[in-house]
Symmetry: C2
Subunit: 736 residues, 2 copies
């Protein structure tokens, strides 16, 4: 049972399933690192993890993934007989853990009964928003009678990787109370440093410290606590993490004594105060306050929390992976999710973060060029699953067939052509919202040129139909592979060509010679005539007489089975619905919004009748097997003036990481973690959807269409350097 | 154990597996009908079948298939107690059945021991080559002591269909000794008539006839035989079959008394004599005599027998299904097999049969037009599985997944684009071998035009590569679906364009106005400029530096696993190697000759180095999962001067229906039957391969490269109206 406090999520569950779910639900982070919401004593089996943004490693032939760096907040409590006090212990009395998502503070109260004495542990911890390398922990043990306990704490290097190990031999230095562990990643030799300084505010001289008896890759100390009633033993830990992969902060060396002589209690309060101040600054622009619907307000704020703790503010050219910093699933890879679902929130509230997303794509342009060349194409084919170099982390066999256990050929890597256009869309939105044309000279214009060149090398001319077409792709709906003329993909390619034209014109207007310079440097001059031809004759599927846009050529010829019918054909709950033999592949059932995304991105291209027809047609055929889906339906339902239709989709989107009710497996592959795209989708639904915010040519427009229960929504919008406070009610809005 | 007699195949097996295998191995037929090599008493469980060329029916939603017409040669023997004497009987002493494949006579000798008395049945039967509606049977029962037996014979209408039933209510007329059964097919109402007149040359007046006591759909009589030692009871049956689907012979009405008053024995001898004369005429041109290698001679002749018994001589516009007239598998459909593998033999020996193949494609042009239109294409897209109308009998789900039991999407129907070019290839070969240009005016020119138009609607222009390409196809190798620029397919499309040009030029030379008339009538005029452009810029993959032609774009990037390795990954012996999740799909392992077919069809386009390089490269990567494969490797090995390499492939091809060792299942679908394409491949291997026969511009060329054991090969060649007798030895040849 979780209580629904305004800024708080709590849980009392102690099953393995609860532990995994709370690992995501109570994730803490500061953009530089993420630390899963496990208890201090958790080990690899509980999927405890510390993930550093942009740090990847590949072990053997397994796929590359984020490195799980050593756990510097490890604390374990034992009876004198050596029995561990854990959530699974036979001594457990009660447990409750919680997350204050206003300030990203994870806390817990857990009690055990040992030899008639109640032992209670209270802890709270945070990843400092004021100092990205730091995590602070306050850990208190109290008993209601005399009892000797052993407390072991330090750096646990024996963390579990999905596809590890990733770190070579550890060097240990420092002391039992301030250990430092250093190692290098196996693949690229990137240095990783983790320190964990402890201050023990123990009132009793009988408590002793000694070097931990635990062998192996654990560095730290062991305290023998002679506990008495009413005298808590309080331990403060200041952990520091740095990894060399971060371009700016890689050379950070943990301070030997971060306490600087202060007591643990004092130091914790000081650090917490700086941390809270940083959060207050974040919420000053980043909060959205819904009134009239407490559940919605809370879920939306929780979603924004999840985005803020993974927002890269430190690097300048980092992006956000599809599962944020919640673990190693999805290879820690960056997908189109960032540009499409997360960037809008940051563009509206903290454009520097959005600039980092663009910087990431500029930095990984070479990887995208390599990928295009690999397929005999030109320009930049951005990775479907992008890590630090932009080379595609996605394999050709991304799913395991449940019936044979054999890898199954999927086409995410080679056929999801829309990704380059999504990157350009992100740049275009950045330009539109910020008016900051400087990114073009900082590499973004070259990205646009190379993406345009890419689509020129992808198009085919049909001499019979006298038009260019784009063949053999996967659109957003991944259940239908290798389709021709996916409406979304074709329209997005056209957007790339048009964005290039617009940027070229704007640069010329500004007197810049960047465009001709880039054209000359990249040899794009010679492709300009083809660009003009393709731009004018690229086929984009149009609505039919009933207003419905066919998702791709031949979609309407597929079996029109219902989602329930298709689901009933599953023989194994974990089997993949798409691919060669999937239950959905040959039906009209789609995984996620596809045409509906198109209508949301190009709202002015289609009238209300078309929007409603497609919403109605596709919604009943969508499995929503992707967390990217619900918010798109929510948005379009608002767009056609039906907020009550939209509302359940909004709730589903905003609560996905609160409830933890999301797909945990794709085929046999574990894909659990947080869902930052859905978190971003919650903001899109609320602000662009229900409040009807849109921006065109620097002009703000609002069309309130609040759900029944909502009385008011307040939020901030940064547009082209100006900060606007907006309040929307059922009848109107104020903007200042 | 089968003895290897010169013109005879025998078998003593009685297991169900033997019965199924002999059904194919000892098939008899005359082009109009095929009758499986089962015993007279066989029933549906033994897969007894009478298949009429060109007669199809569809039951419910199951796939269309040939109709199994009533069994007019049914004879059953019972003890007085009613126990049936069958191959499975507890009384069985011995059994041997055989096929004389010089004259297509199926015989058997079977003995049972009943109450201490040995009962022996001897029978022989044939499908008359002199009278296509007739089958004759001589059936003798003999005992070595007194025994009363019951013999029941007549028309068994309770035959088993794979996807039946196909016939409506039967009308029975005639008498117990000469019953006539009539019915109509359920789908199209085509009349089917079967009669079975018997003459009982029974010496003993104690033998009585009465109407069969068997109820249901059995029409005939029952004899109570008071057998004595040394006095055989001999029954002669003259069965007649007609079905209205045959354009010429559909109105045939069985004669009420085919014996015309003659005794059974006399009538049988007379009919057999006429039948043998017809076979002698067939062998006069159709035989190929190999000397020095008895096994090879026998296997080759057996293969030619299998072709002759299914060659349509009666209709003028019929073709041969992939499993001949051996049953209902493969939907009785006509594939490219006919043009590529069977037609060459008939072109060389009996051009009228080959003309019928062309006539069949002319007759089914409308179906091919409908198929093209169905896919938004133009012209004629010939059916992958063609029945009587030319509409495609192939479904989109042609394989059942062994792991899920669910239908599996296959792309044979929609992506095997080469079929239309194969049809044009067949016409071109007909013209080349016969010089009979009259077929162009009889519809073949329009077929060529519509096939050219089809490929014009299939090609795509790549503006970057500045060439036309053909995308998303399946080539001959069916394990790799949806590939781009399959070398074979692209070259064959080019052949279509060139054939159109050549025919146009020849017609003009002959003063014919056919070409402009057809262009005007079909609106093809306006496509001539495009035709010229595509013809000049169609991409045909060329040999690489090592001489190897990449089978399709990206083939060389696939995993280079061996056939054995791929096979070892099978988890179920019946699982399909291709398709979405097949073990071969993502490797270089191919089902059958693909590039090798290309090299065989266009021998003058490639030098010996290229041929050898591709033979070497692809042979080791070929599973030979199709019976069309081995002969192509045999041919190419001869072409590069290596007959010993070729020889095992020849044997495999020539013996496929003798040994019965072929794939019996594709996924879970039974595909057993005869293999006329392999039978034709045996002739190709022997005559075009080992003898090196080729014809160009009416000139015969021979390049003997006989296998070690062969001393001489004699055969006949009809070329442009002239008959040539050819003898090839190791050192040379004679031609007269």
């Amino acid at each position: 049972m979780r209580r629904l406090d305004e800024w708080r999520v709590t849980d009392t569950g102690t099953s393995q399933e609860d532990i995994l779910a709370n690992g995501n639900r109570m994730l803490m982070g500061n953009g530089y690192l993420g630390y899963r919401g496990t208890t201090e004593e958790a080990d690899g089996g509980d999927m405890s993890a510390t993930i550093v943004s942009g740090l990847y490693d590949r072990y053997g032939e397994l796929w590359r993934e984020p490195v799980n760096v050593p756990n510097a907040l490890s604390v374990r409590l034992f009876t004198l007989g050596g029995e561990a006090l854990t959530l699974g212990s036979r001594f457990l009395l009660s447990h409750e853990q919680g997350l204050d998502f206003r300030y990203g503070i994870v806390s817990r109260v857990t009690s055990w009964k040992v030899e008639g004495v109640t032992v209670t542990v209270r802890s709270e911890r945070f990843a400092s928003m004021a100092s990205v390398h730091s995590m602070l922990l306050r850990y208190a043990v109290e008993t209601d009678g005399p009892l000797t306990l052993v407390l072991e704490r330090g750096i646990d290097c024996a963390v579990r990787d999905l596809n590890g190990p990733h770190l070579g031999a550890f060097t240990h230095s420092g002391t039992a109370s301030a250990p430092l562990a250093e190692a290098r990643t196996l693949e690229l030799g990137i240095p990783v440093r983790v320190s964990s300084a402890a201050a023990a505010d123990f009132p009793d001289p009988a408590d002793t410290i000694r070097t931990s008896r635990r062998g192996g890759a654990f560095f730290g100390g062991e305290y023998v606590l002679q506990c008495r009633k009413g005298v808590p033993r309080i331990l403060t830990v200041h952990a520091q993490v740095s990894a060399g992969s971060d371009p700016d902060a890689g050379s950070f060396v943990p301070a030997a004594d971060p306490f600087g002589g202060a007591s643990g209690e004092y130091h914790f309060r000081e650090e917490l105060s700086r941390h809270k101040a940083a959060w207050d600054a974040i919420w000053a622009d980043g909060d959205v306050v819904v009134e009239g619907d407490d559940d919605a307000r809370r879920a939306l704020r929780y979603s924004l929390y999840q985005l803020q703790i993974i927002a890269p503010r430190h690097g300048g050219s980092l992006s956000i992976p599809a599962r944020g910093l919640s673990g190693q699933t999805y290879k820690g890879a960056v997908f189109w999710d960032t540009e499409m679902f997360m960037a809008p929130y940051f563009l509206a509230t903290d454009p520097a973060v959005a600039r980092s997303f663009v910087g990431y794509r500029v930095r990984t342009l070479e990887g995208a060029r390599r990928k295009a060349a690999e397929y005999g194409l030109r320009g930049a084919f951005y990775a479907w699953e992008s890590q630090e170099t932009g080379d595609d982390a996605c394999s050709d066999f991304n799913v395991t067939d449940v019936f044979t256990g054999r890898p199954q050929r999927t086409y995410f890597r080679d056929k999801q052509l829309h990704i380059s256009a999504d990157v350009v869309y992100g740049i275009r939105e950045y330009l539109s919202m910020t008016g900051d044309w400087s990114i073009l000279a900082d590499g973004a214009f070259e990205v646009i040129v190379e993406c345009a060149r890419f689509y020129l090398s992808c198009v085919w001319y049909s001499p019979v139909r006298e038009r260019y077409e784009i063949l053999d792709v996967i659109g957003p709906d991944e259940y239908h592979e290798r389709v021709n003329n996916n409406a979304f993909t074709n329209r997005m390619a056209l957007l790339v060509f048009r964005t290039l034209r617009e940027c070229e014109a704007e640069l010329a207007r500004q007197g810049s010679t960047l465009a001709p310079e880039v054209y000359a440097a990249t040899g794009f001059d010679s492709e300009l005539p083809l660009l003009a031809d393709v731009e004018s004759r690229l086929y984009v599927p149009a609505p039919g007489p009933d207003g419905v846009i066919e998702q791709f050529d031949g979609y309407f010829r597929l079996e029109d089975a219902s989602v329930e019918e298709v689901k009933s054909r599953l023989l194994d709950p974990k089997e993949y619905w798409g691919g060669g033999n999937g239950v959905a592949s040959n039906t009209r059932v789609i995984k996620q919004a596809d045409v509906v995304v198109l209508l949301n991105l190009f709202p002015r291209d289609y009238d209300d009748r078309v929007k409603r027809a497609n919403l109605d047609f596709y919604e009943r055929r969508t499995e929503h097997g992707s967390s990217l889906s619900a918010c798109m339906y929510s948005l379009l339902a608002c767009e056609v003036g039906d907020p009550q239709w939209a509302y359940p989709f909004f709730r589903k989107t905003a609560e996905i990481d609160l409830t933890g009710e999301s797909k945990q497996f794709a085929g046999l592959v574990y894909i659990g973690g947080t869902h930052p795209a859905a978190n971003g989708g919650a903001w899109l639904s609320a602000v662009r959807g229900f409040c009807g915010l849109s921006v065109s040519d620097g002009e703000i427009s609002l069309s309130p269409r609040l759900p029944e229960s909502w009385t008011k929504v307040s939020f901030t919008l940064r547009l082209r350097g100006r900060r606007h406070s907006i309040t929307v009610t059922k009848d109107g809005y104020t903007l200042c």
